[in-house]
């Protein structure tokens, strides 16, 4: 958290206005004291920010997703788990507009929407951090942070303002990188991950999707990313978190949605569910309400 600046009198009038009053993209991260934020945290709304209803996706002969249902509310972290090939990444890509869905409905704040290209998702307020980080190696950190939404002044790139905000953003997120003006190629895997996450937060998204955000990170960086996720929730953002790491899921998620072979395999409240139950849902070796019911109804249907 940023400390309030000590000597307001010493700031010269030449100091940029953004520091004084104008809200910056990340103002939420330093204007709110932690305690206050925690109190505001519980305002999960009735209408989900994002709801998937019976979403299906095929790639040629492969049915990647079948009738998938998913609901994410504001101020809620939903962990999306499943084995390799369960369809997690595909599901995320359908939400992000990389792969348009074949069947089903995507509802955004209660209204059905069509997301056919990444721009649609961005315009709705969906920010995605992919597993393969999708940064341009040849462009510097500032350029990557603002890629596709550059700040302009009379049609010209406002490099100074972008650099100032980039430094502010990275400082606020306690992200340490050698310089904001070196190409992404010079950064380590963990540093790239933090840059990619920072990038997703510039546009004040309503929904942030993180695809395996901690997979390549060290102990401290992992903790920082989890802190970030919690801060997003405190501010009322919806978060979809894909992870293989049950400890991370237990630490920050409110709900866990399990995918198995492209289908829903249960949604669990994290607090009231043990790690074993989640794991058995992932692997399919499960005996839970969902499967019992499915087996029962199937059995009845066959009779």
């Amino acid at each position: 958290m940023r400390k309030p600046s000590g000597r307001p009198g010493s700031i010269s009038p030449a100091a940029p206005a953004g520091r004084a009053g104008r809200p910056t993209p990340l103002s939420f991260l330093h204007n709110l004291p932690p305690g206050q934020a925690a109190k505001e945290m519980v305002h999960v709304s009735a209408t989900p920010v994002l709801a998937l209803r019976g979403v299906s996706k095929r790639f040629g002969a492969v049915q990647a997703l079948t009738d998938v249902e998913l609901e994410v509310h504001a101020g809620e972290v939903v962990a999306l788990v499943g084995d390799n090939g369960a369809g997690k990444s595909t599901l995320v890509k359908t939400i992000a507009g990389v792969h348009p869905i074949d069947d089903g409905v995507i509802e955004w704040e209660g209204r059905p929407v069509s997301i056919s290209k990444p721009h649609d998702a961005q315009n709705l307020g969906i920010a995605t951090v992919y597993q393969d980080l999708a940064l341009c190696d040849n462009i510097d950190v500032v350029g990557n942070l603002f890629l596709g939404r550059e700040l302009k002044k009379r049609g010209i790139l406002d490099e100074v303002e972008m650099e100032r905000r980039a430094r502010e953003l990275l400082t606020t997120l306690s992200i340490r990188i050698p310089s904001v003006r070196i190409p992404i190629a010079s950064l380590s895997g963990g540093q790239r991950q933090t840059v990619a996450i920072a990038r997703s937060m510039l546009g004040e998204p309503k929904l942030v999707i993180l695809d395996e955000p901690t997979a390549a990170l060290g102990v401290e960086q992992t903790a920082q990313v989890l802190d970030l996720v919690e801060r997003l929730r405190e501010r009322g953002h919806a978060v979809i978190l894909i992870s293989h790491n049950m400890a991370d899921v237990k630490a920050v998620a409110d709900k866990v949605a399990v995918l198995r072979l492209g289908r829903n395999n249960g949604v669990f409240e994290v607090k009231s569910t043990s790690q074993e139950e989640i794991i058995s849902a992932i692997t399919g070796a499960t005996d839970n309400a969902v499967t019992r019911r499915a087996a029962r109804t199937n059995g009845e249907a066959q009779k």
């Binding site: 600046s5 520091r19 940064l135 040849n138 350029g143 890629l147 302009k152 790139l157 490099e159 502010e168």
Partner: protein, 427 residues
């Protein structure tokens, strides 16, 4: 980065920014020292890391000039240098266009033929059909842009490899040019017309050359200085004044030496003024506008660009349109140089020279790295070799072999640089 300025005076005015600057710095980062010494060590470090920039080509150019001057003392005469400066503009203009394509990591093999079409179109319209020359010039340039759009469409929309599309274009537009030139084969153009003047007009007043040099120096200094001040005020690292002064001094020496040289002969050539204007404009577009950022982004990672919401197809088509436009402009300069549109325009080693100039200047064939100023340095090397060899009376076959060798050497440098940069973690 706490280089020089942020840790010095403005820290008091802007304590928060200074605090930012300190906390954002990785403690392992090598911090640059103050002043000139820091500049030198930074330069050495960059060299070792394979961040060569334009150093190899500047060194190469000096060596080439020294060798030819040793062989023939007329090489560095005002007249010869002036001829090089004017002759290089046709190739240089085309090189500017191809740099846009190379930045995407693609190639356009059709620029030679397109330049031929442009010259022929202009000559046929203005000479044979009596259309006003200005209109003919506009049609020729628009034609180049349209041809580029067509190539871009097949590459970006249809998904055919750019290499194959433009290879087809190379042959198709060569045929098209021969067709519109007709049986005659050569159309002479009015050497006092618009196109004729492109390479023959000189601003003979000595104030013109000196004035342009002064303007360039002043504009460079003022923009650098204001930019530095603005960065300082915003609390981000800025270039120290000593470095700005040094850079301005280097520019001033080169600028005024060139101006003096031109004034010894006929004055400031119009062709060079137009070329400089194009370089400044395209450099500005590439580095200071969102469009330029998109071009670089596509050269870095197409997938990342697409996910960032960049319209990949539109940018690709526009880049090929730019290449076509500059090919057409180059073709007009070519027609001006030989005062005709003929069947051999755009043929021979022109295409190779255009690509070589871009690559020699420091544009990477792998995409995402380069500046349009590279075209200037590269085309100076290529044209200097051509004129030097011509002064020595060395025949075309040997010229081809030498240019080929230079291109190979450059590509090798590009590839090796890339490898060094990878190991130094900068690519």
């Amino acid at each position: 980065m706490s280089i020089d300025k942020t840790s010095a005076a403005p820290a008091v005015e802007n304590p928060e920014a200074a605090a930012d600057a300190v906390t954002a710095v990785d403690p392992r980062l090598l911090v640059r020292e103050e002043g000139l010494k820091g500049y030198v060590t930074e330069f050495k470090r960059k060299m070792r890391a394979g961040d060569l920039g334009s150093v190899p080509v500047v060194v190469g150019l000096i060596i080439i000039w020294a060798i030819f001057q040793g062989l023939n003392s007329n090489f560095l005469s005002a007249e010869n240098l002036n001829n090089i400066a004017v002759a290089m503009v046709a190739t240089g203009m085309m090189s500017v266009g191809i740099i846009f394509v190379l930045l995407l990591g693609e190639i356009d093999l059709s620029v030679g033929s397109v330049s031929g079409v442009s010259g022929a179109l202009m000559a046929v319209l203005s000479v044979t059909h009596g259309v006003s020359e200005w209109l003919a010039v506009l049609v020729a340039i628009a034609g180049g842009a349209l041809i580029g759009c067509i190539h871009g469409f097949f590459f970006a929309r249809v998904g055919a490899p750019a290499f194959a599309v433009t290879l087809a274009g190379l042959l198709f537009w060569l045929g098209f040019m021969l067709q519109i030139l007709g049986d005659n084969g050569t159309i002479n153009i009015d050497s006092d017309g618009v196109v004729g003047h492109l390479t023959t007009y000189y601003f003979s007043d000595i104030a013109a050359a000196y004035g342009l040099a002064t303007l360039a120096v002043v504009v460079f200094f003022v923009t650098s200085f204001l930019d530095s001040r603005r960065r300082e005020a915003a609390g981000v690292p800025s270039r120290p004044l000593s470095e700005i002064v040094l850079r301005t001094a280097v520019l001033a020496v080169i600028g005024f030496a060139a101006a003096a040289m031109f004034n010894q002969y006929k004055g400031l050539p119009l062709a060079l003024v137009l070329f400089m204007a194009v370089l400044v404009l395209t450099d500005f577009v590439l580095r200071r506008t969102a469009y330029g950022r998109k071009v670089f982004a596509l050269g870095g990672s197409v997938e990342a660009s697409r996910r960032a919401g960049i319209n990949v197809t539109a940018v690709r088509i526009s880049v090929f349109a730019i290449a076509g436009t500059f090919a057409a402009i180059g073709g007009l300069f070519w027609a001006s140089k030989i005062a005709a549109a003929n069947q051999s325009a755009g043929a021979g080693d022109l295409l190779m020279n255009v690509i070589a100039a871009a690559v020699i200047g420091g544009t990477s064939l792998f995409g995402g790295r380069g500046r349009t100023w590279n075209a200037l340095l590269g085309v100076m090397v290529i044209t200097s070799i051509q004129y030097g060899l011509a002064l020595e009376g060395i025949a075309t076959p040997i010229q081809y072999m030498i240019t080929g060798g230079v291109l190979l050497a450059t590509v090798v440098i590009d590839s090796v640089t890339r490898k060094t940069q990878k190991t130094a973690g900068r690519a």
